[in-house]
């Protein structure tokens, strides 16, 4: 690992041109860097933005410089923030000058790592910083913000406290046998373990929704051949091309795009190119398509409004009963061929070719996705896989303790209950970084961008 007590510098804003760019400096030489940049010797006023000319290499730039003395700063070190016009040339010159004045280039995540090492944030909060920077959907921002403000940490601390209290009472019973009684009755231990287990289980269960928030909901476009699935897919994708990222490893026969539709992060999959064919390759494609429909979070069933509904389509409609699904009546630019009373209730008229109704379809998809991760459940959602795995491990130990205690008719000796409680606590504390391995930190902070 690298040094944690020298001075680091990095451009904190995104690479490229921008209106304003920010250079951040952290470490014991931050004030000296500030004085050097501004060519001043006077002590730097704390927490006040000072407009000054900074001399960086062979350039002079107009800048706003703010000094945050440690420990009440983001990293806990002395921190200097220099805002200048966002030309990469200017920002690079400021960084070069800072390095001449005693700083070294920061590694990814190093500012936040310092905040963690100085006890400014716990590990969960540090990870939230990373997630927040990477967030593309409002749900991701909300989850990361809740994590950053400590809601998840608080929930974990509450569970850890409950376990620690049980441990203390059980230990007292064992260490002071002369007192001749139990500080807590086994039935009470059992009930408390069940309570904590329930809370943990609820949190672990949010991992499913957390995954939706993190990776996006799987929205699959389905339908029989020639109803215009691909056109609908392309129309939806086209609207949001700018922030679409292709997913690596998509299968040849299912095209999918990760994108944000109306604020909802989705992985939109098109089962286009699949026909009810006879040859083996196509049969395999059909099997995969129906697999995709099976595992979808939301299904968009595309029907052709210009002709009557087929029996096959009625079967598809029935199979979607009770699942989050949207029915699109495509080819709405043509006359509707559905007999009165034969239509599908709530079908959205869409003309993928003309582009009509595509926005409404997008909104419907976003609503359906919001319904999945709906506001009904917990305020705190576990979006991080590391957290989910550790929480599940803690839960397994708490459940094991409760189960064994129950199975023994409350006769299981205390030290074995405590063994599980202690192991569960260790897993919980690993989430927030109260206990941690060095390699873990490297992994976590490597996922950051430089300047955070």
């Amino acid at each position: 690992m690298f040094s944690t007590d020298d001075t680091i510098v990095a451009v904190a804003t995104a690479a490229g041109h921008s209106g304003v760019g920010l250079v951040r400096v952290s470490g014991p030489a931050a004030a000296a860097v500030g004085c050097g940049l501004a060519r001043r010797t006077a002590p730097w006023p704390a927490r006040r933005a000072v407009r000054t000319l900074v001399a960086a290499s062979d350039l002079t730039a107009d800048a706003l410089v703010t000094f945050f003395p440690g420990p009440a700063s983001y990293t806990g070190d002395d921190v200097l923030e220099v805002s200048a016009h966002g030309s990469p040339v200017i920002l690079a010159a400021i960084v070069r000058r800072a390095i001449e004045l005693g700083a070294r280039p920061a590694r990814p995540g190093e500012f936040t790592l310092r905040a963690f090492l100085r006890g400014k944030v716990d590990l969960v909060q540090a990870e939230a910083v990373r997630d927040l920077v990477a967030a593309v959907s409002p749900a991701q921002v909300r989850a990361a913000t809740a994590q950053l403000d400590g809601s998840l940490s608080a929930a974990l601390v509450e569970q850890a406290e409950a376990l620690r209290r049980l441990e203390t009472l059980l230990e007292a019973s064992m260490d002071f046998p002369d007192e001749g009684y139990r500080f807590i009755e086994p039935a009470e231990v059992h009930a408390a373990l069940a309570r904590v287990g329930e809370q943990m289980a609820r949190l672990v269960a949010t991992g499913g929704r957390g995954q939706l928030v993190r990776d996006g909901a799987r929205v699959v476009i389905a339908g029989v051949p020639n109803v215009g699935k691909s056109s609908v897919f392309n129309a939806l994708v086209g609207a949001d091309r700018a922030i679409v990222t292709p997913i690596a490893g998509t299968t040849r026969d299912i095209v999918s795009e990760r994108m944000v539709i109306d604020g909802a992060l989705v992985v939109l999959a098109d089962t286009a190119g699949l026909r009810d064919g006879v040859d083996r390759v196509e049969a395999e494609g059909v099997r995969r398509a129906s697999g995709a429909v099976e595992s979808a979070d939301v299904v968009v069933l595309v029907l052709d409004g210009s002709r009557e509904i087929l029996d096959e389509e009625r079967a598809l409609l029935r199979s979607l009963d009770g699942r989050p699904a949207i029915v699109a009546r495509n080819k709405a630019d043509l006359p509707c061929a559905w007999a009165a009373g034969d239509g599908v209730v709530g079908a959205l008229p869409v003309s993928a070719v003309a582009g009509d109704g595509v926005a409404a379809l997008g909104r419907a998809i976003a609503r359906a996705v919001a319904g999945l991760s709906g506001g009904d459940g917990e305020a705190v959602v576990v979006t991080n896989e590391r957290h989910r795995v550790l929480l599940a491990r803690a839960l397994a130990r708490v459940r094991h303790a409760a189960a064994e205690l129950g199975a023994s008719g409350h006769q299981l000796p205390e030290e074995f209950v405590v063994a599980d409680i202690r192991a569960g606590l260790a897993a919980l504390e690993e989430v927030t970084g109260r206990r941690t391995a060095d390699t873990l930190l490297d992994e976590i902070f490597a996922g950051f961008c430089i300047g955070k």
Binding site: E171, M174, F416
Partner: protein, 589 residues
Amino acid sequence: MGLCTLSTATIGTMPCNPAVGGTAKGQLVREIDALGGLMGLAIDATGIQFKVLNQSRGPAVWAPRAQADKQRYARWMAERLAHAPGITIVEGQVARLMLNGQTVTGVLLVDGRTFRGKAVVVTTGTFLNGIIHVGDDRRPAGRVGEPPSVHLGEHLRALGFTVGRLKTGTPPRLSRASIDFDRAVSAGVFHVEHGDEPSVPLSFLTEDAPSNTVVCWKLHSSTESHGAVRRHIARSPLYNGQIQGIGPRYCPSFEDKVMRFPDRDRHLVHLEPEGLDVDEIYVNGMSMSLPEDVQREVIASLPGLESARVLRPGYAVEYDFVQPTELRHTLETRRIGRLFLAGQINGTSGYEEAAGQGLLAGVNAALAVEGRPAFVVGRHEGYLGVMVDDLVSRGCLEPYRLFTSRAEHRLHLRADNADLRLTERGREIGLVGDARWDAFQARRARLTRNRDTLRRVSVMAPSGARVTAEDALKWQEVTAGTLLEGGIALEHAAAGGFDLATLQTEIKYGGYLRRQDAEMRRALHAEFQRIPDDFVYRGLSGLSAELVQRLEEVRPESLGQASRIPGMTPAATVLLNAVLSRKSAEKTG
């Protein structure tokens, strides 16, 4: 080897409760025994009542305890020492250490005699600047009727050791002849307590179960007793500021119990005979430093003790101790080479804790003189290791005593397997003689054969199915004893039941033990990450000034130990790890 004592007549004296063992302490006595120490054998030979505490609980907290005949115990110890080859006993008071630079070379006695030595172990008990308090009566003394050791305390201070004050106490002793036990028992105010039958010895070498020759009595204090304490509390040196030393929270004096738990209307009291030929009864649970007249009043207020005669009042004793953060894991001081400290001088209370440290300090002094590697017991190997690591890492704010909760790997640190954990290590460095070694190997072989038997033999389950005896032993209601009664030929030595206890626990709770072993192996990684002796903490940003000071005092030997220092945050541990890795990379690269 020379053993210098203030009075040869008081070797082996038990100034407080004449008992050995108890929770965590019983496990410790077994560990001392497994390494060839005498304590277990002494109590087995001279005990008068034997009991395993915590029997209603699990095997990791079963704790053998025995009451000693205090005269016989002291005599037994004195005789063993007198006949031990190579020990010269010297009567006298050590005034100061002789030094060559920062290494100790011997001791100078108050009377001017000098003794040279290549290593010195200091075990001053409660004698270092000891002051005994009974009400406002305070007098310099190490134990009642024995003068304190004043010069050595001053000398250690002058050498720069961090010396603090602790306090402990003892209850009054009553005349057995003055108490009508039968009447109190039939009146229902005393409850008779018997020893276990069959009894369980403390030593692995004791072949026959020792006999219980006395009974004890249990009673409860009354609201009158509590009222008397409250009326006179201003006369307690603990409450009027006369005592500065800090007492143990977990072994509170009777006045502490009354004042700190005002809603408890009664406290447990045990009456324990101090021996077969003595009149003294130890009043367990009533350690006091109130004036003698108040103690008499309190005693007379206890049901059944209305006319009991107080032979000796209880007292509090204040004494010097050296902050054990001054020590290495070998119990050698970092300040002075070849100087080892053990027992109450390191802030501990209890005979067992003292004995364990005495063993480790003595062994390491001998190993150092011979130029051999140190003998350190890990936290995962024994309570000996837990205790020493706690002391040297955390220091003492109050008298330290062992608890099972202090051990991370408690399921493994049981009384029944102390020999399996430590005897082989003791043998390697010459602590374990042939007789013990042979007995140990025989026991290990029995254990292996018993495991084979359980796997080979099948029994009938309630469902009618046949299962191996091993699987049957995992059922809650089945014990090794029931299998034995059912005719399964399990071998076991006569006394102690160690063989069956070990077998049963390893099988019944095998899942738990395996999981804890896995956790233990993971945790060991940090124990092997060494921190150099000359590591510079100052200037590492991210460590607070307090923490830097703490780390400089303790000088942890490994990252694992550093993480256990009070005030160490996980982030600080990570930081330290980062710097250590960088340093070692610089060195190798």
